[in-house]
């Protein structure tokens, strides 16, 4: 079974520039998550999709971050404009939707390490 794929692996940009990250979840997983992990901290949920609908984006800084999940499969996360404090690893995760619409185990990709200079 292929895992969660993410690209790029690393990205270095200057502040105020824009950047985009891509995620392809495990086949058949209805739920997709984007997490932000700052060095030394646990992952923090940015946005959660179920199929192509947003379930939770309460912690997404919507003035600069946006995300979409077209056709309920791949997803992109964009930051525009980037700030220094956005330097972090951006992790994509997916989970299988059970009959009650509840996810189960989370499977993560390797992440995109973003450095904002």
């Amino acid at each position: 079974e292929a895992g969660v794929a993410q690209s790029p692996r690393y990205k270095i940009i200057e502040k105020r520039q824009s950047v985009a990250f891509w995620c392809n979840p495990i086949s058949g997983h209805a739920t997709l998550y984007w997490y932000q992990q700052i060095l030394g901290q646990g992952p923090k949920l940015l946005i959660q999709f179920q199929n192509n609908g947003v379930v939770d984006d309460s912690q997404l800084p919507k003035d600069r971050f946006s995300a979409e999940r077209l056709k309920g499969v791949d997803s992109t996360l964009k930051i525009q404009p980037a700030k220094l404090e956005d330097s972090a690893v951006y992790l994509c995760a997916s989970s299988f939707e059970l009959s009650q619409g509840i996810g189960e185990k989370l499977f993560f990709g390797s992440g995109t390490q973003l450095s904002v200079l």
Binding site: V4, G40, P43, E104, L106, F107, F108, G109
Partner: protein, 109 residues
């Protein structure tokens, strides 16, 4: 109050030692308990998964859940240098998961 609390460590033990890692949580409705291992510059890798309460064993790893105390543990027996990593607990209700800050573990040969 945070949903999940985890001692960040760092924890340093000699090879062969028994390691105990712990998390506490605040919401009694949480039913899903996971432990992840994260090596440097890698994404978290699912190590142990428990639904509801009880113990689960997988090789050298044992996960315990005490719902009455809202406390979960991961035990590593006969620790190896390859176990050196950050261990994250993730707890949730199936719709949303909350992560601890992670405990950094170093196993010294």
């Amino acid at each position: 109050q945070k949903e999940v609390e985890q001692d960040p460590g760092p924890l340093s033990v000699p090879e062969g030692a028994i390691v105990s890692l712990n998390c506490t949580y605040s919401n009694s409705a949480f039913q899903y308990f996971m432990w992840y291992r994260q090596y440097s510059r890698k994404g978290p890798e699912l190590l142990m998964y428990t639904y509801s309460s009880g113990n689960k064993e997988d090789g050298r790893f044992t996960a315990q859940v005490d719902k009455s105390s809202k406390y979960i543990s991961l035990f590593i027996r006969d620790s190896q240098p390859s176990d050196s990593a950050t261990y994250l607990c993730a707890i949730g209700d199936g719709n949303q998961f909350y992560f601890g800050t992670g405990t950094s573990l170093t196993v010294i040969p």
